[in-house]
Amino acid sequence: MSSIPADLKYTKTHEWVRVEGDIATIGITDFAQKELSDIVYVEITALGKTVKQTETIGFIEAVKATSDIYAPVSGEVIEANAQINKKEGDAPAMVNRDPYGMGWLCKIKISNPAELSTLLDQEAYTNLVQRSQHH
């Protein structure tokens, strides 16, 4: 069973969000990393850009497929996790090993806090994952 912490918000596209003040830290969920399996490359393409909620902000390359990363909230992408966005070595595998910790992807300075209420809580995301597993 995938780990789904209670203190985070989630998207239907399997990103998680940790809100501290007006900064949202973003990653992909434990369920998502398991679905992708071996992650070999992460790129935040929107670093420094202002993005709208649900826009593509980067992508994840796993051995078997590529997956987009979507902005859970609107705002400016102010930081990418330098430890993960490395083109060499197995640093991106940290997303597999520690998706909610060292494997975070980027930070967004939130421009519209009202959007946070549109995100899923632990219970709603758990339901979503369970449906995905039994389709």
């Binding site: 399996s37 070999v40 490359y41 051995v63 078997k64 497929a65 590529t66 060499e88």
Partner: protein, 365 residues
């Protein structure tokens, strides 16, 4: 409703992540695609390939029939020898790729799982003379034991000496006390064997194999690593690299197309014409020059012009580079040609390289 193989309970017990493939519930991965890939390249791994189709053919005209249906020359086969081959439509398109075994009293055809029903129907539609045909897929389980330690591992539980079995040769003997057909074949580029086991005794072989292989760190390998291993060798995958719209000559499978064999084969006339005019396009190996991973269907460009498309692509765990197979115009297909692939809207540099991508496999010649 998708089917399970005789090894399903073992896949679950080993923590396999199960997906549907060719109508079967099969493991995509266990520990992870990359570690499983390396395990096969360095020691030994076991693949459940029971989803492959197994068809027995016998009768006075069986050899003649197989020679009519396949492009390779089955008459050159000795008893217990195997050959890689292709079945074609009259227009030269590929029905399937397969392995043909000549056994003492019948032939065994091993076809792709997803094509099993189609192939069986295709073969039945073309029967002539004294030929009998039976699909034995569900009665026989199939395991591939692959890797440089495969022989050492399998020898521990085999009644016969495996060392004299040559590449693409087979023998019959007991493995874990069960009567099996043992062939030195596989689709990974490593030395290894495929075992054809009576389905009801399959688990006994699995369990003893896992116990015997413990000292070599044997482990089950999923479909994910099967794909990266075969791609590093430029082994074609039906549905990706070859299908009814492609012919074996452009796919680089000319070595199994015997255009002048007596009696010909279905598709021979068209392929003779293709050979004469040379294929317009070729399936080539492309290696990325930067850290980008090509994926199927992406466009390939030469000097800014589209010249083809990717059919298979992945990160090569052995080379740690993006690799791809692509059909491209013949003029751009020579080794060393610099091309670009459009990945996520950006053109990434690639170069045509000679197959295979991975050149250090332990496969016996």
């Amino acid at each position: 409703m998708s089917k399970t193989t005789p090894f399903y309970s073992r896949h679950l017990a080993a923590g396999g992540k199960i997906v549907e493939f060719a109508g079967y519930q099969l493991p995509l991965q266990f520990r992870g695609i990359i570690p499983e890939h390396h395990r096969v390249r360095t020691t030994v791994g076991v693949f459940d390939v029971s989803h492959m189709g197994r068809i027995r053919v016998w009768g006075a005209n069986a050899l003649q029939f197989i020679n009519r249906m396949t492009t390779n020359d089955a008459s050159s086969l000795e008893v217990y020898q195997a050959q890689y081959s292709v079945m074609c439509y009259p227009d030269g398109g590929i029905v399937d790729d397969l392995v043909v075994y000549r056994l003492p009293d019948h032939f065994l055809l091993v076809v792709n799982g997803a094509n099993n029903e189609k192939d069986t129907a295709w073969l039945k539609d073309h029967l002539f003379g004294d030929v009998q045909l039976e699909n034995v897929t569900t009665e026989v389980a199939q395991l591939a034991v692959q890797g440089p330690k495969a022989e050492l591992c399998l020898q521990k539980i085999s009644s016969i000496d495996l060392s004299p079995i040559g590449f693409y040769w087979a023998a019959e003997g007991k493995v874990a006390g069960v009567d099996v057909l043992i062939s030195r074949t596989g689709y990974t580029g490593e030395d290894g064997f495929e075992l054809y086991i009576p389905a009801e005794q399959a688990l006994k072989v699995w369990d003893e194999l896992m116990a015997a292989g413990k000292e070599f760190e044997i482990e089950p390998i999923g479909l994910g690593a099967r794909d990266t291993l075969r791609l590093e060798m430029k082994y074609c995958l039906y549905g990706n690299d070859i299908d009814q719209t492609t012919n074996p000559l452009e796919a680089g499978l000319g070595f199994v197309v015997k255009l002048d064999k007596p009696g010909g084969f279905i598709g021979a006339e068209v392929l003779q014409q293709v050979a004469k005019e040379k294929p317009r396009r070729r399936l080539v190996c492309l290696e990325m020059q930067d850290r980008a991973i090509p994926r199927p269907k992406l466009s390939v460009f030469a000097n800014g012009n589209p010249i083809g498309f990717v059919t298979s692509g992945t990160l090569s765990p052995s080379l740690n580079k993006g690799i791809a197979l692509a059909y491209i115009q013949r003029e751009s297909a020579s080794v060393g040609t610099k091309l670009t692939i459009e990945i996520r809207g950006e053109r990434h540099q690639a170069v045509v390289v000679a197959p295979p991508f991975y050149k250090h496999g332990s496969r016996k010649k």
